[in-house]
């Protein structure tokens, strides 16, 4: 049982990033449940929003000056009770879609969102076509060969006039 728990905890442990300067972002309102929800939203957004100065770090992970500023802004907005969508809109209005690690679905991102599915569908279709074609081809038997072909086959296999010593 102990091993099972250990195994399960390894299997289901979620990958999480430590937030730089994490101690600065304390949610200590009166309502405990609300604090937890806010902290969760803050963590979620800090991990999902990309630092606009960095090529591939999120707000939680980056120590760039701008990431620090945006973490503080995010903290203040979450603390003031801002909801997820309004905060995301705030960031996109200023820094563009670049800051979204999960880009919105629109004409510009269709390829990004649906491309992999389209490729998978194409691959499956190709596979089906190939398999069907193979099935349609009649299986050949040695009996179907003409005399000349049989002779050539024997030659290639090294059979000398019934002498099977090879």
């Amino acid at each position: 049982m102990r091993y099972f728990v250990l195994f399960a905890s390894i299997l289901f442990s979620t990958f999480s990033l430590a937030i730089v300067d994490g101690h600065e972002y304390v949610f200590d309102g009166e309502n405990k449940k609300e604090n937890e929800a806010k902290a969760e939203l803050f963590n979620e957004l800090a991990q999902e929003l990309r630092c606009p100065k960095c090529q591939n770090q999120n707000l939680a992970d980056s120590n760039a000056m701008i990431a620090g500023d945006l973490r503080r802004e995010l903290y203040q907005q979450v603390k003031a009770g801002g909801d997820e969508q309004s905060i995301i809109d705030f960031m996109v209005d200023r820094y563009g879609e670049f800051v979204l690690y999960r880009p919105k679905v629109n004409a510009m991102t269709y390829v990004l969102w649906y491309g992999p599915i389209a490729l998978l569908v194409i691959a499956v279709i190709c596979l089906i076509v190939i398999v069907r074609k193979r099935k349609q081809q009649p299986e050949l038997d040695e009996a179907d060969l003409s005399e000349a072909q049989k002779k050539r086959l024997d030659e290639l296999l090294g059979k000398d006039k019934g002498d099977d010593h090879v």
Binding site: P52, K53, Q55, M65, I66, D69, L70, E73, V92, D93, R94, Y95, G96, E97, F98
Partner: protein, 180 residues
């Protein structure tokens, strides 16, 4: 199987190769600004030298370059002499002093020359955040109606000014055409 189908992998290879080769010459830091063609964000900030309050309304009526700078920013120092030169040529430049201390900033302007009509003191970085600034220097081309028309990231120098000058002149001509 038809013979030409044998070339499909090769064609895919060539297309992929072209795509990746092209991507080698793209600048991943060149992020399209979300603010182009939007009205300059509202602000209400004191200027660095005279201390009077300026708002976004002060940008209307003429074409301006809005240059985000700070004394802590090394590229700004590189850019500064060229801004002074542009100002002498009659380009109207407004500064946004980004997350900086007042005294060193004033000293900087005194020692290196002041190319700005005025610099607003954005010590808290609120205006810069509304502008989507990710670092300094950044320069916004604002038309006479107060709309941001172009954003340049990094220092403006003699070497990269030519295409920017065209944008600038277009805006100036547009402003002239509108007032006649």
């Amino acid at each position: 199987m038809k013979r030409w189908t044998l070339f499909i992998p090769f064609i895919i290879f060539v297309l992929l190769g072209f795509l990746l080769w092209r991507a080698l010459y793209l600048d991943p830091k060149d992020i399209p600004s979300a603010l182009v063609d939007k009205t300059f964000p509202e602000f209400n900030l004191p200027t660095l030298v005279s201390g009077e309050t300026k708002t976004q309304a002060s940008l209307q009526g003429d074409v301006h370059l809005v240059n985000v700078w700070g004394t802590w920013c090394i590229s700004c120092k590189v850019e500064h002499p060229f801004l002074v030169k542009l100002a002498q040529q009659g380009v109207k430049i407004v500064g946004v002093n980004y997350k900086d201390e007042n005294e060193p900033a004033r000293q900087w302007l005194q020692e290196l020359g002041n190319p700005y009509l005025y610099s607003v003191d954005d010590e808290a970085g609120t205006l810069s955040m509304d502008l989507g600034v990710t670092g300094a220097p950044e320069t916004f081309f604002v038309d006479s109606k107060g709309v941001i028309r172009h954003k340049h990231q990094g220092p403006i120098t003699q070497a990269n000014w030519a295409p920017l000058e065209k944008i600038w002149l277009d805006l100036v001509n547009e402003a002239k055409g509108g007032s006649q």
